[in-house]
């Protein structure tokens, strides 16, 4: 297979697979305006509305800032408009400067200074058009698959996930890593019960210890709160799909990252290396937040496996849906890009992996995924919870 695709070369050398202007609100108070400005502009403008308030405890705010900056710096973003109401603790100019550090063109908009929402919409449209005048000049040029950072995720898992879709996507990750690229999977609660296998694959003791600490932390949150993880993991839907315990879910979940050595584990929304092999990210199990963490880390394309049938997408990175459940494929093929349920008819995992990899390269070159076609663009930022903050202080 040809190991190249056509992408957008950015000033810092990284390659985008889409050429968007991102409209990034710093709080929920600016999210409606951000969405309205982007909708008015057209498909080239992508809003990332979220629910976080204007004031957060320090550690939570720092994480939110990392996501906002990471989204603006994702190579699929050629330019960014950062929008605030004007009362946020987060400094809009600071976010803009941090995004611009990689060469991305950035503008800001303060709703209060503009004179309210109507004036902000008009002003936002002007600034967005100005950004796009520059961004739209970018042209696709040849790039190597080794420049891809591929985020992999699962949601709505059932028993087929660990048998068909996850190992199929894992085989695609193996191909990408072999070609010199980066694959990343996350959802730390779904390492519980399978962490010994991942630990054995870590390249050094430091990575191994960091991984085990993160799993321990996620598991101890359940103990700290005196709750039983069984109520939430596996979810009721997972259980209906045949998954009995978190261990069983995890053992299936980790196969979506493939079989190569674990080269590192980064924090939520922290930068992912280009050409970095298999790298993990410490994220919650909530799929939308987890996808956003990886996109903020620089993933240009995401693969999302689902047994029961998820429709989740992302505003910035194309999301390739893969199901291993033949019935889900039959019912929801208009939301799913790759059918891995074929393994039940005898197709090999390796062959599914080849199809997923080919889809990855095609999508990187511009082919739309089903979730892009339908503009399914869920976006949510993980908020560090008060119990977690208290645990950090105690630790």
């Amino acid at each position: 297979m040809d190991g190249t695709f056509e992408g957008y070369r950015r000033p810092d050398g990284r390659v985008g697979v889409r050429n968007y202007v991102a409209v990034i609100p710093t709080s929920v108070a600016a999210s409606a305006v951000a969405t309205a400005v982007a909708d008015e502009a057209g498909a080239w403008a992508r809003a990332t509305p979220h629910q976080l308030g204007t004031s957060q405890p320090d550690a939570a705010r720092r994480q939110t800032e990392r996501v906002l900056v990471g989204i603006g710096q994702n190579p699929n973003v050629g330019g960014a408009l950062v929008v605030e109401l004007g009362t946020e603790d987060i400094d809009v100019e600071d976010i803009a400067d941090r995004i611009a550090a990689d060469g991305t063109t950035v503008e800001t908009l303060t709703i209060r200074d503009a004179g309210g929402t109507q004036a902000a919409l008009a002003e936002g449209t002007t600034r967005l058009d100005r950004l796009n005048d520059e961004v739209k000049r970018a042209r696709r040029e040849e790039a190597d698959v080794s420049e891809l950072v591929f985020g992999v995720e699962c949601g709505g898992s059932d028993a087929t996930s660990g048998i068909a879709a996850n190992p199929g996507v894992g085989a695609a990750c193996d191909r990408l890593v072999e070609a010199g690229g980066t694959a990343c999977f996350s959802e730390t609660p779904e390492f519980i019960g399978a962490e010994h296998i991942l630990a054995d694959r870590c390249v050094d003791d430091e990575t191994r210890q960091r991984l085990l600490d993160r799993v321990d932390h996620r598991e101890s949150m359940a103990e700290l709160m005196g709750v039983d993880l069984r109520g939430a993991q596996p979810t009721p839907g997972n259980q209906e799909g045949g998954l009995t315990t978190i261990e069983e879910k995890s053992l299936g979940a980790i196969s979506k990252g493939g079989t190569t050595p674990v080269r590192g584990i980064v924090d939520y929304a922290e930068d992912l290396p280009v050409g970095g092999g298999l790298v993990l990210m410490d994220t919650p199990g909530y799929d939308v937040e987890s996808v956003v963490g990886k996109v903020a880390g620089g993933a240009q394309v995401v693969a999302f496996t689902t047994g029961r049938g998820s429709t989740t997408g992302n505003p910035i990175a194309p999301v390739i849906k893969v199901t291993g459940n033949p019935k889900t494929w039959e019912k929801m093929s208009n939301n799913i890009d790759v059918n891995a349920g074929t393994v039940f008819d005898g197709e090999s995992i390796d062959s599914v992996g080849e199809r997923v990899f080919e889809t990855l390269v095609d999508v990187a070159g511009g082919r739309q995924t089903e979730s892009e076609r339908r503009r399914l663009e869920e976006f949510a930022i993980n908020e560090i919870q008060p119990e977690e903050l208290a645990a950090e202080v105690d630790a």
């Binding site: 059932d158 028993a159 087929t160 660990g162 048998i163 068909a164 190992p167 609660p189 519980i192 019960g193 399978a194 296998i197 598991e219 359940a222 103990e223 700290l224 709160m225 005196g226 709750v227 039983d228 993880l229 069984r230 993991q233 259980q239 799909g241 045949g242 009995t244 315990t245 978190i246 261990e247 069983e248 053992l251 299936g252 047994g307 459940n325 019935k327 393994v343 039940f344 005898g346 090999s348 995992i349 645990a391 105690d394």
Partner: protein
Amino acid sequence: MKGRVLDDTLLLLSDADNVGTAVDDLDEGTELDYDGRSVTLSEDVPFGHKVALEPLSAGDDVRKYGEVIGTATQPVERGEWVHTHNCESTRGRGDQAAARGERA
């Protein structure tokens, strides 16, 4: 596919496993023969759900993927459906920690 399918009925992911995964919706009374042994399903088992291939006692490890996925909470006969009613996780059990007085 990972593992091997036993008599077109159950997927055995590792030879170390004591449960198999239904590759279709299976009816009570379904018989499967493999490796010179025979198992009869004592109840309906939906696609993707698990069937005990060995008799289990309460406290026994339940194995899938060659790994422990939980423990049996009651005796389980060969051919029985294995799920949350007779198998539970040993991980993330804040309820047990609270019962032991370890709650923070």
